[in-house]
């Protein structure tokens, strides 16, 4: 019993310690954001790495998700002779929920894991320590530009995901199943609200961007400097980012659309 209590206490302390370290890490990143803005060339390079290189997976996933929405929407709306509402259904599903959420999940798997592995390996091979010894702060030079790049990339990727998804829904709904093209676009135009839907979707993706990049960069920076340590950190990044995205999505949806 005493051992069990001791174990619980030890794990609890470890969790609080980790929370404290990650919060300090986040504050140091915020301090370093000035450098990332002034030396924007460093940030641009990272936008290419985490954003541009994620385009293919985002666009292809968006296309398939849009196609599935088109198909599912058509099958169900057809029961009520409401096929012309397909455009609204596809657009709102993507802009409010699936665009930011699936982009966040894909980002965690594609770019987040790469960030953790990169920073973890830089730690393992003493590159971060050597920077410190060259009087260069790795948080300002390495971490902050990557963080900023992730926050800029995430809403853009989510927007591309949603746009391609809408085209996917159009391809299936209008192209294959015969929904009227005019209804598809006009219903969408009339019912998707810019501030209520699109801006809220963008806010969600920015929040997911902050969460995913914070988790990915912290896990890399805090990784045990061994092959196994980096491997564990990469797994933690994907799992924790996915959970964070889904949990934050519920909170944000409740605040934005839930009348709570």
């Amino acid at each position: 019993m005493l051992d069990w209590l001791q174990n619980v206490g030890k794990k609890g302390l470890h969790v609080f310690e980790s929370l404290g370290r990650s919060t300090m890490f986040f504050l140091l990143i915020l301090q370093g954001l000035g450098v990332a803005l002034v030396r924007f060339r460093l940030t641009l390079r990272e936008i290419y790495s985490v954003g541009v290189l994620s385009l293919v997976i985002i666009a292809v996933s968006g296309l398939f998700v849009g196609m599935v929405l088109g198909l599912q929407g058509y099958v169900n709306f057809a029961k009520f002779n409401a096929e012309e509402s397909l455009g609204i259904f596809v657009a709102l599903s993507l802009v409010r929920e699936l665009g930011p959420v699936v982009t966040g999940l894909l980002y965690a798997g594609r770019a987040g894991s790469a960030l953790t592995a990169e920073i973890g390996l830089m730690k393992t091979t003493e590159q971060l320590a050597s920077m410190e010894m060259m009087a260069v702060d790795p948080i300002r030079r390495i971490i902050a530009p990557r963080f900023l790049a992730g926050i800029i990339s995430m809403p853009l990727l989510a927007a591309i995901f949603s746009a391609v998804g809408v085209l996917g829904g159009y391809f299936v709904g209008v192209g294959l199943l015969g929904v009227d093209s005019g209804s598809y676009w006009s219903q969408m135009q009339a019912n998707v609200d810019f501030s209520g839907d699109i801006v809220n979707g963008v806010i969600k993706s920015v929040v997911f961007g902050i969460a995913c990049n914070w988790i990915a960069l912290y896990q890399g920076y805090d990784a045990i400097p061994t092959a196994e340590g980096v491997s564990r950190a990469t797994t933690k990044t994907v799992v924790r980012s996915a959970l964070a995205v889904l949990a934050l999505d519920f909170v944000l949806t409740a605040l934005m659309f839930g009348d709570i």
Partner: protein, 274 residues
């Protein structure tokens, strides 16, 4: 090569006083005190796990001691602000065991890195300075190679060029000879000695390569169990009456440093469960 009196009479650049440091329950330094003299090559030798690399990290301010002080040019490394520590580090070079080159930059950019971060020099001057340092380590022709294309010895030479590009007052070498072939070892030995003499550096070498370290160090501290076992010039160390020093210098498998890790009685262990 200096003798004991020459070394002790020169001015200390680094003073370590009553240094205590531990990792978990493992106490690494127990009141370590020593001086590192300006303009000399000082070696730290001892078996693996005695805290030689930890000592370099404590000198560089990467680790904080439990107790005690590390003074560099009179400044207590652990008591100064982070910005002052970074100013101090601009005058310190460190050569990591792996080289620790930035893997996304080529050789030229790795050497140029400290210049780009800390100066606003025109591109032409950066180019000239980098080529001068690369020439000094014999790798001017390798400037376009990526770190993944370099051998271990070449990577260390590039790291050495990077460490001296800001013309530091001192340079710390962490196991500079480990895992190198004899020719590359010879090259690194010559480079360390030449750079120390030509640039007027203070060099600190942490190594367990006996012959190489004895051949270039002006003064050597032998460390074990967190304490200095012996110190002196290479000549005096070879004549040391300490059994421990003799075992280490000559590589005897058993002696004061036991071959066996502490364990129960051998026979008892074999008979367990019978």
């Amino acid at each position: 090569m200096t003798d004991n009196n020459d070394y002790v009479s020169s001015e200390p650049l680094i003073e370590i006083r009553d240094l205590y440091f531990s990792r978990g329950s493992n106490q690494i330094f127990k009141g370590l005190s020593l001086d590192i003299r300006r303009g000399q090559v000082t070696g730290f030798m001892g078996p693996s796990g005695t805290g030689k690399t930890t000592l370099l990290k404590l000198i560089g301010g990467q680790l904080k001691p439990l107790d005690g002080k590390v003074y560099i040019q009179g400044q207590n490394v652990n008591a100064i602000s982070r910005s002052s520590l970074f100013e101090l580090r601009k005058r310190m070079g460190m050569l990591f065991q792996s080289g620790a080159l930035l893997t996304d930059l080529n050789v030229f950019e790795n050497v140029a890195f400290p210049l780009r971060e800390h100066t606003k020099l025109p591109e032409q001057i950066i180019r000239d300075l980098v080529l001068i340092k690369l020439e000094a380590v014999g790798l001017r022709g390798a400037r376009k190679l990526m770190p993944s294309q370099l051998s271990g010895g070449m990577a260390r030479r590039v790291a050495l060029a990077r460490a001296i590009v800001l013309d530091p007052m001192m340079i710390m070498y962490d196991e500079p000879f480990a895992g190198l072939d004899p020719i590359t070892k010879g090259t690194i030995v010559t480079l360390i000695k030449q750079l120390n003499n030509v640039l007027g550096l203070t060099s600190i070498i942490v190594s367990h390569d006996v012959e190489e370290t004895l051949s270039i160090a002006d003064y050597i501290y032998v460390i074990s169990d967190g304490e200095i076992i012996e110190s002196g010039t290479p000549v005096s160390l070879r004549k040391s009456s300490s059994e421990w020093v003799q075992q280490f210098l000559n590589g005897y498998p058993d002696g004061p440093a036991p071959f066996h890790y502490p364990a129960h009685e051998y026979i008892e262990d074999l008979l367990v469960g019978r």
